[in-house]
């Protein structure tokens, strides 16, 4: 399916979802509560079969924190982008997709480590690169006390 058909297919399953035809891929904005059911549906549906989670990118949008999921189907070779946001910067919590794709285990740990987004039902959510005493460096309001570099 190309990005237009994919967008229409996803729209047909849930009218409330915000589907945009991006520059390269179909981009779907999902509320955090619908992320896991939608991901599971896209993984299992006969027409889509997104069996390969390419990457999870955590993004700090200023007000919100969010994650971007690039999904690909190895059978049909099409790609879709899921985006979700949470406005809670103190205790951001999203649903883990580690039960759908095994690779999400590491990718979500990386997002937690660098942006502080927690994932519910993650099998082993620990810091990955940094020590527990560090802040979350990829947040835009992060201040590096040791190497103060200002623009």
């Amino acid at each position: 399916m190309d990005k237009k058909e994919l967008g229409e297919f996803i729209k047909s399953t849930d009218q409330d979802l915000e589907v945009k035809e991006g520059i390269q891929f179909a981009e779907v904005t999902v509320p955090p509560s619908k992320l896991h059911p939608l991901a599971k549906m896209l993984r299992e549906a006969e027409q889509t079969q997104f069996d390969f989670l390419v990457c999870i990118s955590g993004v700090d949008y200023g007000q919100d924190l969010g994650t971007v999921y690039h999904l690909r189907s190895t059978k049909f070779d099409h790609t879709v982008v899921l985006k979700t946001r949470t406005s809670d910067r103190v205790h951001p919590l999203l649903d883990s997709v580690a039960d759908i794709w095994n690779t999400a285990d590491f990718l979500e740990r990386e997002v937690y480590d660098l942006l502080g987004i927690k994932f519910a039902n993650h099998p082993d959510l620990r810091r990955l690169f940094l020590d527990n005493s560090w802040g979350f460096p990829l947040r835009k309001d992060y201040v590096d006390d040791i190497n103060i570099v200002t623009k």
Binding site: F52, L53, C55, T74, V81, F106, L114, F129, L138, K151
Partner: protein, 374 residues
């Protein structure tokens, strides 16, 4: 006395935890594996990473696009040229710059030379991991010839930074074509020697066949790409699925096996070297004339939006995901690095094997640690 014997027998049944690394020759860098053992059998492997985490993604947010290219060299230093290409292609795609054929061909030849030298170094160190020290000398001897070619044209041997947005930094050296042709002629004779040394060796077979088996379903679910994934039958070659540069103009096979164990991961890489040589031979005699770089604006600003570009490095799929807010610095850069994802499968495939097999399995995944940590 009797008591002592009793203690020993209970100890054997307990789990024993050892640290492999961060300074261990077979982890090829500062990777620490916390291995739980029962006797000699691996119960679980927990990778502890971050010893050389430099925060490349954070650094990218405060520098310009041409500067980012120099950071990508430092991720997977053995695929430096291909990493550069990922960022260059993203920038060119965002600005919709038309790239002349000469640049595409130069980039493709350079990428394939990079792939060969990376696999040579992997072969050298993999042989050494398994106890065949001769491999190390053979591999490094032949890799030197490619590094010399790089040095002449790029001015640098490993961390080349040869690509820049809109083309390459300098034109090819006059000796380039001849030297590459000489190398291919030489290496076509030498590569069968690699097979004689290691591929047909009985001890090597015993240590690699059936070890660390990864099924196709798990390879896809864990996102294992590159030769490691293709050895399990996961068709994931970006050069075939989404051709970039001049890969749509050349004929080559995607190396696929279904065995999925250490041996097939090894054979997949050896076969890839043959395919890389085929690609270079198709291109080296007809490099089109033209400029080696397109003139870009002095300050590169990407239009607002999100861009994703994937390339095939020597270890798998590298994705560059750039979010731009229209400034000269990116808003967010994420690198989907192949080694980071490939590392996550280590616990799954090493479980149940002996600790000596862990060295073989780790070597066959061909991990480069700076790419994991970034």
């Amino acid at each position: 006395m009797e008591e002592q014997v009793k203690n020993i027998s209970t100890d054997e049944q307990q789990e024993y935890v050892i640290n492999m690394g961060p300074q261990h020759p077979s982890t090829h860098g500062v990777l620490r594996l916390v291995v739980s053992l029962k006797g000699e059998t691996v119960k679980s492997v927990q990778p502890h990473i971050g010893y050389i985490h430099r925060g490349i993604e954070k650094m990218c947010e405060s520098i310009t696009y041409p500067q980012i290219i120099h950071l990508t060299d430092r991720m997977d230093y053995l695929s430096a040229h291909i990493n550069n290409e990922a960022v260059c292609l993203t920038v060119e795609k965002a600005l919709q710059v038309e790239i002349p054929d000469r640049i595409k061909v130069i980039r493709t030849i350079m990428s394939e030379l990079t792939r060969i030298q990376s696999h040579q170094l992997w072969w050298a160190s993999f042989g050494m991991d398994l106890g065949g020290l001769t491999c190390f000398f053979y591999g490094l001897r032949d890799r030197e010839k490619i590094l010399d070619i790089f040095e002449e044209t790029c001015g640098s041997r490993m961390i080349v930074s040869y690509n820049c947005p809109g083309g390459v930094m300098y034109d090819l050296h006059p000796n380039f074509q001849q030297k590459v042709k000489d190398f291919i002629k030489y290496f076509r004779k030498i590569l069968p020697e690699y097979d004689q040394l290691l591929t047909g060796n009985v001890i090597f077979h015993e240590r690699s066949k059936g070890i660390g088996k990864l099924s196709l379903e798990d390879a896809i679910s864990y996102g294992v790409t590159g030769p490691s994934g293709r050895a399990s039958g996961f068709s994931c070659d970006v050069r075939k699925h989404e051709p970039y540069s001049a890969y749509d103009k050349v004929q080559f096979k995607e190396i696929l096996f279904t065995g999925g164990d250490t041996y097939f991961r090894y054979v997949a890489r050896i076969q890839e070297m043959w395919e890389s040589m085929n690609i270079i031979e198709q291109l080296i005699d007809n490099i089109p004339e033209g400029p080696y770089a397109v003139k870009m604006k002095p300050v590169i600003k990407l239009p607002e939006g999100e861009y994703y570009q994937r390339v095939e490095t020597a270890r798998g799929e590298l994705g560059a995901y750039i979010i731009s807010d229209g400034n000269k610095n990116p808003y967010r850069v994420k690198f989907r690095s192949p080694n980071f994802v490939n590392l996550s499968v280590l616990n799954h495939i090493a479980k149940g094997f002996k600790i000596a097999d862990l060295v073989a399995i780790g070597g066959s995944l061909d991990l480069v640690i700076p790419d994991i940590d970034r």
